[in-house]
């Protein structure tokens, strides 16, 4: 059983005294999670030995920062931060052990846009982890002021031979009438673990998109929670995940409606091949005051090989009657009728399967916030697809 000790939890030169020390105290008090807890069910958490990693800052590059957007980098080694930024962390809690650990060691990037400002170009942040045994704790705060608009892409990259643990947190704050689009891309090698959290809070009439593309990692888990706090706010959560070999992708989602006339939409589509695994569990939670709200949740999974496994568990928790809600979830092989249709036109079965799988993912690719990335991501999916190559 892995044990968390204060030594492994303490960063080399940790001080943002209050925030970090408080998080450390909370982290130290928390038990290490086990798969007996519903939220960790099916996960590979028991395999994780935190003591075998040491905190290291990832190499981070940032591009696409155009004038009105302010990007501030506060490395883990920083001893103090600007008072205006410190305010962003005043009441922050990590919620679970990994959230707290992130606060203890966080390497922070704050992307902020002022009131009424529209950022024309996406900010692209790339974290490269090339240090064996490293664990890193990037924290991205997107602070979009009233009626502003910003798009941020965050990439996680490592090579297959690097054994690492990445514990990222996204903290998106969408103020009244603001628009935030986020895309996280997991291109980690097969030696890396990722245990991440996405949190968004939307104020009145705001619009937030949280998108994820997961292709990499050995075990890669993202918990994404979208909280609709202001009336008339809207969120969309979309994900494309594709695991092969012995990879496992693990998603936990929450759509939380805490204000009237809020809408949330979620589309997660995944595929597993060879002996890979995936888990999706999603909750729609509608509070009593969230009258006139609408929430939709769709999770579809393709199992492309006999040995591959996918689980999908949708849940609803609704405290008011005046809502529109739907959820759909499927796990299964490629639809036989779709294949027959293409084959009856004279398309050979390998090509037909590739077309159907890529088509399956296109629905998600079409919703990504940066259209230019759809084509290269589609190529990555195509390159990973073993149908028609291995046989």
């Amino acid at each position: 059983m892995p044990v968390l000790t204060p030594d492994t939890a303490r960063s080399p030169s940790s001080t943002w005294p209050q925030v970090r020390e408080a998080a450390l105290a909370r982290a130290t008090a928390l038990p290490f999670p086990t798969a007996d807890e519903e939220i960790w069910r099916y996960s590979r958490i028991a395999e994780l030995d935190l003591a075998s990693f040491r905190p290291v800052a990832s190499v981070t590059s940032i591009s696409g920062v155009t004038d009105p957007v302010r990007v501030t980098h506060v490395p883990a080694s920083a001893t103090s931060v600007d008072a205006s930024l410190a305010g962003l962390f005043e009441s922050t809690h990590g919620n679970d052990l990994f959230g707290e650990l992130n606060l203890v060691h966080m390497d922070v990037i704050v992307v902020s846009v002022a009131r009424n400002v529209v950022a024309s170009e996406p900010v692209v942040i790339t974290h490269t982890i090339d240090d064996g045994g490293a664990m890193c704790f990037p924290r991205l705060v997107i602070d979009a002021a009233e009626n502003s608009e910003v798009t941020v892409v965050e990439r996680f990259v490592s090579s297959d031979d690097v054994r690492s643990l990445v514990v990222p947190v996204l903290d998106a704050r969408t103020a009244q009438a603001a628009r935030v689009r986020y895309l996280g891309i997991n291109e980690l090698g097969t030696g890396s673990w990722l245990i991440g959290q996405h949190q968004s809070v939307g104020q009145r009439d705001s619009d937030t998109l949280l998108a994820t593309v997961a292709l990499g990692g050995d075990y890669a888990r993202v918990s994404t929670s979208a909280r609709l706090e202001g009336q008339g706010s809207n969120t969309r959560q979309v994900a494309l995940y594709f695991a092969g070999g012995t990879q496992m992708h693990d998603f936990r989602t929450l759509q939380e409606h805490a204000a009237p006339r809020t809408t949330s939409d979620l589309l997660f589509k995944g595929a597993v091949q060879e002996s890979a695994k995936s888990v999706y569990t999603g909750l729609i939670k509608i509070h009593k005051n969230a009258k006139g709200s609408a929430a939709f949740q769709t999770n579809r999974n393709l199992t492309l090989s006999q040995g591959a496994w996918a689980e999908s568990v949708p849940n609803l928790e609704i405290e008011t009657n005046d809502v529109k809600c739907s959820h759909a979830s499927t796990v299964g092989p490629i639809d036989e009728d779709q294949l027959f249709y293409l084959e009856s036109r004279g398309v050979n079965p390998d090509v037909a399967q590739r077309l159907v799988v890529l088509g399956f993912f296109d629905e998600v690719l079409a919703q990504l916030p940066v259209g230019d990335l759809a084509a290269p991501l589609r190529r990555q999916v195509a390159a990973k697809l073993s149908i028609g190559i291995a046989s």
């Binding site: 036109r345 399956f360 296109d362 629905e363």
Partner: protein, 245 residues
Amino acid sequence: MSTLEIIDLHASVGDTRILHGVNLAVSSGEVHAVMGPNGAGKSTLSAVVMGKPGYEVTAGSILFDGREILGLPTWQRATAGLHLVMQYPTEVPGVLLKDVLSEALKGRGGDGDLGRLDTLLRTEATRINFEERFLDRPLNVDLSGGEKKRNETLQLSILKPTIAILDELDSGLDVDALRDCARRVMDATREEGLGALVITHYSRLLEELKPSRVHILVKGRIVETGGPELADVLERDGYEAFKRD
């Protein structure tokens, strides 16, 4: 000159025997109608000829240009020149018509048509009043019944099979779409020598798509074969007269 010969064909789905010895032959340029009531085995016949999974052939054979095709996978039957226009065209999310047709043409070695695919698609779409904007849709997704059948007919006209089975082309489409599709198929039989096996429940379709032979399929057997006048008898008397054991 192509010929599809169905010889003493017996087929089952699960434990249910559906076809009990069907005999039929269609050649290039001919239009044959297979008419029958619900449950006669019409759709089973088309599925078996195309090799759809889930159907078991228990006896008989299907020869295409003299060659047994029962052992061939579906896509090779198609590249050999057979085509199925489906009663309920499957929706294939995210897969574009153009991509499927270009893969299908590659499978046929039809490189000549591949380069002209865009032009061909537009020309053929106009010919059957298929709106061009539908050319960029994923296959059959969000198309009405009529548009789906126009889409099927469009594919037929691009892929140029030698023998086509049309499974209830007339189901779920309006009069205009029916005429557009039927005329395009009729033109193909005249201009390109297409042989068509037209499966239908109603004689309405045959007013546009004029058969030289009409076969009546009841309970998995062809019970009567005749000229086009047989469809008129059917229209007048219904299937009851043919439902003898």
